[in-house]
């Protein structure tokens, strides 16, 4: 990377000059700086005074297990650890070989696990959990090193991801009366359920959204109308109404003997909802492709399918990756809405923790903890998205 281009010279300025330039450049800037500085100091003092003094964090630490895996049977928890280990290793490998945004994600996975290791260590629910998280973080690191040295072929990693997603789902759900007995979805709760809802929603809504976007731009009027109607209908109503339909009203639309699991219904509702938004994003990308590209493909003798597959979609999808990451962050946050229909994801577990008599008045502690977990997850995603945006040069045109 030793290119001849020189970085622009850095101008070093003293702290006083920096202050003058950045905080006190004009009289109103000076007043603004002082006012906001005072307000900020007050907020920070208040918050840290509360967080380090008055806050009853024992409510969180006592229920840490509930927050993380909810009511998942304790003797089956190893299945979740195994999952986490596989994902950690794969994330490390991908991050090591791909670099950039993926590496940011992988390192934040490791960072989050270190954070949990610390949280569990102070919560006293068994050092085993702490050690397991530390081991997982180490696994990410091992993966990163192995990935960077190209010890594992890229294809193996890709296949690993493709296999591990359905495999981890089966591992959590279990099969009948085998070594991994099935765990009723009633018991899926806490951060585990949040992860499952978000992952399934993201993985399924993307292809569905792409199909809808292509449908909306199809030359066939019937296909176009149906796709448009679907997209506009879904985008016109709030997600809670869709979840309510899925949770309570769905049996009316199905034959009596067919029964779909509640968690699956919530996943379906979230997927159908966000597919409409993915479709609009992708449509933006499709519209940005110059008509000449399609014409050139036709001139080369490619048919409609091949044109889309090899010419249009690769360009369009790359252009909308950052926007889609933004959507997936929204999807992750929207999983909290299932608590309104009574599923106990992270926020729902927080609410049931607050119903314990020992937790009276600990609203701030519980909700701030829940908010912090969401912040860590989506901040990591958004940082990765910024890096991606920069590396794709999307914002630069």
């Amino acid at each position: 990377m030793t290119s001849a281009t020189l970085q622009p010279p850095r101008i070093r300025i003293g702290p006083v000059a920096w202050l003058r330039q950045n905080l006190f450049s004009t009289w109103y800037n000076a007043i603004l700086s002082l006012l906001i500085g005072a307000l900020l100091a007050w907020v920070i003092l208040q918050f840290s005074g509360w967080a380090l003094g008055a806050a009853r964090w024992d409510v969180i630490t006592r229920n840490m297990r509930l927050f993380l895996i909810g009511q998942f049977p304790g003797d089956q928890a190893w299945r979740i650890w195994l999952n986490l280990a596989v994902i950690s290793g794969l994330a490390g490998l991908s991050g090591g070989s791909a670099g950039g945004a993926v590496r940011t994600l992988a390192t934040s996975v490791a960072a989050a696990q270190l954070l949990f290791a610390g949280l569990i260590a102070v919560s006293g629910i068994g050092l085993l959990g702490s050690v397991a998280y530390l081991a997982n973080a180490a696994l990410v690191w091992v993966g990163l090193v192995a990935g960077m040295r190209r010890l594992v072929p890229q294809r193996v990693v890709t296949i690993g991801w493709l296999v591990s997603l359905p495999a981890s789902f089966i591992l959590v759900a279990g099969v009948g009366d085998t070594a991994i007995p099935s765990v009723s979805t009633n018991l899926w709760s806490g951060l585990l359920l949040t992860f499952l809802l978000a992952t399934v929603g993201i993985v399924l809504s993307f292809p569905f959204g792409v199909v809808l976007a292509l449908g909306r731009r199809s030359a066939l009027p019937a296909v176009r109308w149906l796709s448009t109607a679907y997209i506009e209908l879904i985008r016109g109503v709030p997600l809670v109404t869709i979840l309510f339909m899925a949770d309570i009203m769905l049996p009316l639309f199905l034959p009596g003997e067919l029964r779909i699991d509640r968690v699956a219904r919530a996943m379906g509702g979230i997927t159908l909802f966000s597919a409409a938004y993915v479709a609009e994003n992708v449509r933006g990308g499709l519209q940005a492709i110059p008509a000449g590209q399609v014409e050139a493909a036709h001139a080369l003798g490619l048919n409609g399918f091949l044109t889309n597959r090899f010419i249009v979609l690769p360009q369009a999808l790359r252009a909308v990756i950052p926007a889609n990451v933004g959507l997936f962050i929204s999807l992750l946050k929207d999983t909290t809405l299932v608590t309104i229909v009574g599923l106990l994801e992270l926020l729902g577990i927080g609410r049931s923790v607050l119903a314990q008599s020992e937790s009276l008045g600990a609203q701030m502690e519980v909700y701030v903890f829940v908010a912090a977990l969401f912040f860590v997850m989506s901040f990591a995603m958004s940082q990765a998205s910024y890096r991606l945006e920069a590396s794709l040069g999307v914002g630069e045109r």
Binding site: L233, M249, G256, G342, R351, A355
Partner: protein, 364 residues
Amino acid sequence: MIKRIALPLVLFALILAACEASPNPSPSGQATASPGAETPAPTQAPPVAGGRLALVQGRGQLICGVNGNLPGFSFLDDSGEMSGFDADFCRAVAAAVLGDADAVEFRPLNADQRGPALQTGEVDLLVRNTTWTVSRDTSWGLFAPTTFYDGQGIMVRDDSGITSLEDLDTATICVQSGTTTEQNLADQFRARSLTYTPQVFADIDPVYQAYEEGRCDAVTSDRSQLVARRTAFANPSDHILLDVVMSKEPLGPVVPLGDDAWFNVVKWVVFASFEAEERGITSSNVAGLTGSADPVVARLLGAEGELGIALGLANDWVVTMIGAVGNYAEIYDRNLGPTTPFDLDRGPNQQWTDGGLLYAPPYR
């Protein structure tokens, strides 16, 4: 632009029109939709295949709608099991129908969700401290015999100096939406020409949280619920129930409309729990009583006659059921009796022979 808007509107109108066209469905439409219902079931005959009984037996699991957040009635206990008075009646039905009291999928529902959940067939059975009323009996589903006779109460802070409903003029009152108590509250205050502000939540936990935090001056619900939830307060003794009973609240199981055979099963499961108490049959002695010389007991336990078969169940279903969950008194004492934190007096919930309201029709 107009095109973009017109299309969804037209579609929406079409959906509405399609629905509007169907309020009086033709008999053929009905038959195609539920093939099982095409031959009308003769009374007293085993239920036709395709009814909910067959559905539950085919599934091997009973889906039972419960509250899930009401200690004593249905709540997750320390071991993560759904337990309580209502939950045990779900288990009783599962034991009778499937021979296994644990073959229940508990479906927690808030008060607003329970009506639609019954009507859509989302649950096979609702045992969720639900009050029997005419409108619910005709629109939600059929009410099996009342398992718990209750009345609406109102709870205030002990130090508030409030002793009657009149003292609550202009107060804010916490209540759960979609309940009869929400409606009774409106009636009671209107009848007394008092004003109040309802603070309504969809879920049960926020109702009591908001009251405990001081958002409301009072909270109203069934008296049993107030007592049960009070035990979970930080300082239960700071709160008192006013000495008023604002309504009759007969609480019992409900089944979806339109399935007589299924309704019969649930109805007689409840009656069997009454009858077993009256005859002194308990979970510990039921196995030994199957050879009883008393013809009533013999019929009840299926040693004589084919009463169980007529219901579409195993003939000895009462033995299984009582063996698994016990009779009414056992269910009551285990969940609400003196050994529990609630210590609810049985009041009207006693056998008719003791001056109570529990009265099972004869088993013959």
